[in-house]
Structure formats: C-alpha cells, structure tokens
C-alpha cells in the first residue's frame, strides 16, 4: 500500500526542517522542478492550463486502479518545484482522500506566502485544479 497523504506531508516537513535558509530551500525547490518529468506539447491543452500572468501551468490527471496520477509542467522552474511537491503528496492517492486533504504541510514548510491570492498560479489555483480532477473521477467511479 502507498503512503497516506498525511505520511507524505510529514516526510516533506521533515525534509524542509533541514534547511535553515531560504537559499537552500529554494535550491531544493528548483531541483525538484528540474527533476519533474516534462509533459509533451500535445498534452498542453487549453483545458488543462492554469492561466495567470506570471507563469503557465499545465496539469493533467489519469485514473489507475481507483487512484489518481497527476502530471504537470510549467514554464517557470519555481512553480514546477511547487507542483512537484503537490504531486508527490497527491499523486497515487484515492480521489476521496485528495478532495479531503487539508495540506497543512504547506504552512509548515514556509511556503505560505505562495498561498497569497496575488501570486499568480499560486498554490491555491493548483490545489483547486487537482481537487476538481479528483472530484471528476470520484463522480465517475
């Protein structure tokens, strides 16, 4: 069985506790961003884009054995790093768990400022989109 959303969140919080300055934290995010597999141009459609003024995010989801797998890409690397974390937490989880996830780790790892409504393509709209996907699959299942 997979790790639960909560377990992964805790794991991430522990990882981030190791950083004592923003540079290390941001470099880690950048590395995560770089390591996220690219998605093909054909998957970058109008339907799965999260528009904003600053950077573009494409987010896809598939269902496999009643779990959801997320794929995403962005033209900005920091944004990609943030999605990579979200994917790590929410991918391979059940729709219901995704819908109910509180994602309290975000505040704990000091990415709260990313939650500001003003950070275009902030976490908020990505999380929203992920939950909408989950909702869609939940209704189909």
């Amino acid at each position: 069985m997979n790790m639960s959303i909560n377990e992964i969140e805790n794991e991430i919080v522990e990882e981030f506790e190791m950083f004592d300055n923003w540079i290390d934290k941001y470099e880690y995010l950048i590395d995560l961003g770089k390591s996220l597999p690219k998605i093909s141009d054909s998957e970058k459609t109008k339907e799965n884009i999260i528009t904003g003024c600053q950077s573009q995010v494409w987010l896809n989801a598939k269902e496999k054995d009643r779990h959801i797998i997320f794929y995403a890409d962005s033209d900005a690397i920091m944004t990609k790093g943030i999605i990579a974390i979200l994917i790590r937490v929410l991918s391979f989880q059940k729709p219901k768990d995704i819908i109910n996830a509180k994602l309290e780790f975000i505040e704990k790892i000091g990415l709260k400022e990313q939650l500001s409504p003003t950070r275009a393509n902030g976490l908020v709209s990505m999380i929203k989109k992920m939950k909408i996907y989950a909702l869609g699959f939940e209704q189909k299942l």
Partner: protein
C-alpha cells in the same frame, strides 16, 4: 448615549474652532468626518506597504494586494453579499451608478423603460438620461407626495413588461425619506426588471443585507461612511455582472489583449480597469470596522433620537417649514424659514461655527416639486450630540433675528 465623548475623541477634526466657535458639523450627508484609525491607516499603508497591486511577485506588491483584498472581504461581510467578487471598487456612488447605466445600458433597446423617482440625487438621474439618449430607452418617473414619499401607486402603474431597470435611492439626501426598497425590489422582480439601489445615504445609517433584500445592484461611497474620499462600492449580483459588457478598458480588467481582440478578466477585475485608489481602499476597511464596532442598530437608535429631538425643537421656531415629513425618516432635516433665503441662513450659521448645507443638494427636481429654490439641511452622524442641536437651534433663532 448622551455623553459620547469617547466617540467624538475618535474624530479629531470635531475639536476644531471655526470663526471663534467650536465646530458643530451637521453636513454629514455631504461627507462624514474621518476617524483617527482611518487616517493612521492611510499613513501606515504609504509608510509600510505602498506598491501597485495584483500580478506583482515582490513583497510590497504582495502585502499591498493582501491589504486591498482584505477590504473587499470586509465589504462583503458588511453588506452580506454571497461572493467577495461581487464587490467592485469604484471612485464613488456616482461612478458606480454610471458604470451600471453605461454597461447595462448597452444591452437596452429602443422600447425599453427605466424607472427612477422624483427624489433622486442628480447622480441617479443624469446617468440614466445619458443612457436613454444613447440607447433610445425611455425614462419614467415616480412622483413624490407632499410629505416627500414615493407614490407607490404610480410606481406600480409604471412597472410593466418594458421596464428593464428600476433605479431608486434608499434614503433621500434632501428629504431624509427612507424608501420601501424591499417592496420596490419585490415588485420590480415580479416584472423582471433589475433594481439598482443608491445607498449613498444609507450604508452608514441602516444595516444592509443585499441577499435578504435580493437587490441586483447596491451603490455607496466610502467618504459618507467615515472613510476616505475617492472610494466607492458597487455591489452587483454575480450572474448579472457576468452578463454585462465591460465599462472601462485598461490594465487589470483583461484576460488577454491582442491588437484586434480582447478577452476580459473574471469578476471583480473585469470592472476595475487601471490602478485603483489602493491606499483609500485599504484605509476604508478601518471605517467599516468602526461601523461594525458601533453596530448599525446602535447608530440608528442614536441618530433617530437626534432626529426626533431636532425635529421637535425646530418646529418651535415660528415660520420654519420642514421639507420632507415622512414617518419613515433618516437623520436628515431640510427646512426653510419664511422670508429667509437658505443661503443667508447658511452664511450666518457658519459665522457661529455651525456647518450646515444649503441649496438644492443636487436634487433640483425635489426643489421644483416643492417650488422652492433650495433648503437649509442638517444631517447627522453617530458623533453628533443633543447639545450640538441646542446650539444650532439657538443659532437659527439668532440668524432669524438678524435677517428678518
């Protein structure tokens, strides 16, 4: 609350001396005074957060945006709208009404009708006249009776299937009449007409629940709510705002601009083109906080008491005629004294430190209805006192002696 020195201390300007007298400020329907908190917040914003908002990734831009959006949430709660994005920030009531008249006006056709009333402020007349001029729609007028109340029978007769918009003031700024807007909204909706309520004189004086009222548009100005000048609110129902074409074009209100085609941003941004009055909107929150701390029920009770006391005292003055004598009034009293021109009265009261407004109060049709060139008008805010009324009455008597 007969000793409200605590409240008066919150408004430093009330301690002013004018022409060697303590100021009595009875011109609150024109604009209210500002609390220390509002003034301090303006200062704080410019000293700590000033930056342009939305779309900026740097720190100041983030905090400024958050502060700005916090006011939107406050306004949402204050008038209990369903969504935060139903709150559009404008320059003032006039701007809000023009936005609706222009944008909604573009959807009107030649035979459509708009209903306003005889007691409207020019800001709720002229935009509709301009709108009719452009669209060819017709303007219908609800007359008022001798007490300064809407003639609801004629209103009912005017309403018909051609009526597309009904634009009525909640409280008359020259007569003080509180209109039965709930009934107006209900009747209008039964006729499929949309209703805009001009709340310039009400938002600081009676409590507003736009969902309970089921009103389509509600407009008011921060400067009449103890808040800064240059800030207004347009509340509109999401569904209707979404259908309306944009009013002004510019930064913020677009989704994508090409040189030949533009798509528009979602609410509220679609109607907020250009850099708004950021500091003003941020500071406005402090005045909403103030109103909520006082409580609109308490405010209304105090102002009602001032109204009845002042009315009683004014009536003792021989030759004084109150214009606007509805049973259902807010803290606004217009009057004339036989043989005295309102201007003379205003000038002499001013010499005694008492600030009232004189003239037509931007409601010329009301003056025409009562066949007078204007009135002297006293209007109250929460910080006014019975003692100030006594001083004002004394001053009116003195002025009368001088002028007659």
């Amino acid at each position: 609350m007969s000793d409200n020195s605590d409240i008066r201390n919150m408004f430093p300007i009330l301690k002013s001396r004018v022409n060697d007298n303590d100021l009595v400020y009875f011109d609150n329907a024109a604009t209210t005074q500002k609390s220390k908190e509002v003034i301090k917040e303006l200062e704080r914003f410019y000293l700590q957060e000033n930056s342009n908002i939305h779309r900026g990734v740097h720190h100041l831009s983030q905090v400024a945006t958050d502060s700005f959006e916090l006011t939107r949430k406050s306004v949402k709660t204050f008038i209990n709208s369903k969504f935060t994005h139903e709150i559009i920030f404008t320059k003032g009531t006039t701007d809000s009404i023009n936005l609706v008249a222009s944008s909604l006006g573009r959807l009107l056709k030649k035979d459509d009708e708009i209903i306003i009333s005889e007691m409207e402020h020019h800001s709720n007349i002229v935009p509709w006249q301009l709108c009719c001029e452009i669209s060819g729609a017709k303007l219908k007028i609800v007359p008022i009776n001798d007490s300064g109340e809407l003639d609801m029978i004629i209103f009912n007769e005017l309403l018909n299937s051609k009526t597309k918009i009904v634009a009525i003031t909640h409280i008359s700024n020259s007569l003080g009449t509180i209109n039965p807007i709930k009934e107006i909204i209900k009747l209008s909706h039964e006729n499929n007409a949309k209703v805009l309520i001009d709340g310039a004189q009400s938002a600081a004086h009676v409590s507003i629940d736009v969902q309970e009222l089921d009103v389509d548009f509600y407009c008011f100005s921060a400067h009449k709510l103890y808040g800064p000048t240059g800030v207004g609110v347009l509340y509109g129902k999401e569904e209707i705002l979404n259908q309306m074409p944009p009013y002004q074009g510019g930064g913020e209100m677009i989704k994508e601009v090409s040189l030949h085609k533009t798509t528009y941003a979602s609410l509220p941004h679609k109607f907020e083109a250009g850099t708004p009055n950021i500091a003003g909107v941020v500071a406005f929150k402090k005045s909403i906080d103030l109103l909520e701390n006082f409580g609109l029920k308490t405010i209304k009770e105090h102002e009602d008491a001032l109204l009845s006391y002042a009315t009683k005292e004014l009536k003792k003055i021989e030759g004084l005629i109150i214009v606007g004598t509805s049973e259902n009034k807010s803290g606004i009293i217009s009057f004339n004294i036989n043989g005295i021109h309102h201007y003379d009265l205003g000038v002499i009261l001013d010499k005694m430190g008492i600030a009232i407004r004189t003239g037509h109060h931007c409601t010329q049709p009301v003056m025409r209805k009562f066949n007078i060139p204007g009135t002297a008008r006293i209007s109250f805010a929460y910080y006014n006192t019975f003692d100030e009324i006594d001083r004002c009455i004394k001053a009116i008597n003195k002025a009368k002696d001088m002028l007659l």
